[in-house]
Each structure stands twice: as structure tokens, then as C-alpha cells.
Symmetry: C2
DNA sequence: GAAAACATGCGCATCGGTGTACCGAGAGAA
DNA sequence: TTCTCTCGGTACACCGATGCGCATGTTTTC
């Protein structure tokens, strides 16, 4: 069940994390297998839990969400209740795409997106107002994505 | 061509960025359309460029990549040649999932993954050795993903 | 070393989903 | 009103996904 993963399995994972819309025939050709054999491998990988799901990647800029920030947040305390209250609140804000509890000087790192500077000002006020226990906020704007998600190194 | 996007289109985008493996029938039921009408809408959204692609999301931890870092990098200079050399090198390192050119005190933020502490030590040395022009490196480890990617707010 | 048990790939058959053609309803303009 | 344009529904053809049987190769066991 665990990790008898060979080079073909890795090839399949590499291929579908870049493009999952391929047909089994194409995927099989790519990894050197017939469509049905490839299909069996893929189903097995799904059952074993290597594949968390399938998603459409939307074009952020095309949708008008041209700005992206990494916001570092420190809280006034590290007590469980403070963390839990913050985390519960952060999940309700749709502009926050990700939130990581961090080891280091900041407690959390948030990835947020918004339309423009005006929207960011509003969002920033909104965050500070709605997220409890905030001590310090540092916003870092992404100017350009030098390397965007190319997939895990499998 | 541009933005005559109505509520149904947004519903479709919201649905497929969470799960793109649904059948047209299911997707249609979800947004209140027949399968064919829904299919037409989706193709139109693809043609208009709102959908960048389809991807399988792999289970990072299941694949043994249990550690995730946000690494802040400052360079010795901001000249074009320095930036270009750094960016070219960063693209060749598979553990670097993302690299953002930033506005703020750090020049770049990298998202990297690795197996364990030993692998991180190796990776850290590797980064410093292979990336040219580095002045300062700050590694921040993600302890837990409070909110993982739930999709753009469309 | 032989044979059984297992793994893995291929080809084929079947079935469901995708994609298309056609029709009708509703909105807007002349 | 009438023409037209847009958009959704229905019906259907066909392609691709899914499951199965068979062949081949490999490992284990006696």
C-alpha cells in the first residue's frame, strides 16, 4: 500500500500535476504505457491517496485580481484561544487564499489577492478589523511571479 | 469578449476550481443548467482565457514532502544582470515551487518543500551555492496550513 | 529446477460522458 | 408586429473511460 512507486508512477504524477485534462491515450503514450494500463496505475495512485483532487486553475489576472501579497502577522499572544480565534476568522475571508502557521518571527503568513490598490486598502482595513489578536502586520507585494507553481518534485 | 460574466459563469468557475473532475451533468445540476448548456458555458470561459489549465493536486505529505518553507532572499544588488542570473538559476531547482519578486525589504520570496530536516540542510546549502548574488537568506517554516488554497474569490 | 502465485501489460467490448445539431423561448430593435 | 440575436433544452453520434480476459514475465516455494 505504501511506497512501491516506480519511475512510471512518478512520470504519471508529474504529467497530471501539470495537465490533468489529457486523455488516457495521451497520458499512456507519454509514460510508455497503453491507455488501460495507464488508467489502472492512475486509479491505484488515487486509491493510495497520492492525488488530493483535480482542479481548474483560474487566470488570476484575467479575473481582475492583479495584486498579490504575502502578509506576515504577529499576534498579541500565542495562547490556544488567541490562535483559534484568529484561525477561525481568517477562514471566512475569501481574499485570503492561504494561511500558514509559522515558526519564526511572524506567527502567520497569509497569501491574499485583490483587484487594485484601492481594494487592498479596503482589504487591509478589513483584515485588521475582523482578525482578532493582531499585534503587527507586514504586507509584502509580489511584483512578478518569477516561477509559478510547476508541481511538486516527485 | 471581455467581462459579460454573470452569476452562472461565476458559479461554474467556483465549482471547477474546487473540483474539475465532475461530469457535465453534475456541474450542470450544481449551477442550474443542462449538461450541454453548461458545457457551452465552460468552453466559452476557456476560450476567453479565464481558465489557465487543469491540474491534479498531489498530496504533498503523502509523497513524503512534509516540510514547507517560505524563504526570503535579498540580493547584493538590484541590477538587471543580478536579478536575471538569480531568476534563471532559481527556475532549475525543483524543490522551489514558487518564486516571487517582491516589493519590500526582501527581494524574493521562495516557497520550497523537502522531506525532512536533513534534506532541508542539504537544500539550504544547495540554494546558497547555486543561486548567484545572494546577500541574505531568511527561512520561515510552515508549521501547519491553517487555510490551504480554496480558490480565487470569483 | 519446476511449478505455482503474483504482477503487469495489451486488446477488446461495453457503457457513459462529451460535444454537436437542431429547435424553441424570450428580449430587444426597427 | 416581426425580424433577429441570444441562450437554454433535447436528442443523438461518437469518442474515451472503464472493466475483463488473456498472455507474458518474475518471484517464491518446495
Amino acid at each position: 500500500m505504501n511506497l512501491p512507486m516506480d519511475d512510471i508512477d512518478r512520470k504519471i504524477l508529474r504529467a497530471i500535476q501539470r495537465d490533468s485534462a489529457r486523455s488516457m491515450q495521451d497520458l499512456g503514450d507519454l509514460v510508455g504505457l497503453s491507455a488501460s494500463a495507464c488508467h489502472r496505475r492512475l486509479k491505484s495512485l488515487e486509491e493510495k491517496g497520492y492525488i488530493a483532487g483535480y482542479r481548474a486553475m483560474l487566470d488570476r489576472v484575467r479575473l481582475g485580481l492583479s495584486m498579490q501579497f504575502f502578509i506576515e502577522v504577529s499576534l498579541v499572544s500565542q495562547s490556544d484561544t488567541t490562535l483559534e480565534a484568529f484561525e477561525k476568522a481568517v477562514k471566512t475571508i475569501p481574499e485570503v487564499l492561504e494561511c500558514h502557521l509559522m515558526a519564526g518571527q511572524s506567527d502567520y503568513i497569509l497569501r491574499v489577492v485583490c483587484e487594485d490598490a484601492t481594494a487592498f486598502e479596503r482589504l487591509h482595513r478589513d483584515l485588521v478589523a475582523r482578525l482578532p489578536g493582531i499585534a503587527r502586520v507586514h504586507s509584502n507585494m509580489s511584483i512578478r511571479e518569477v516561477k509559478s507553481f510547476g508541481g511538486l518534485p516527485v
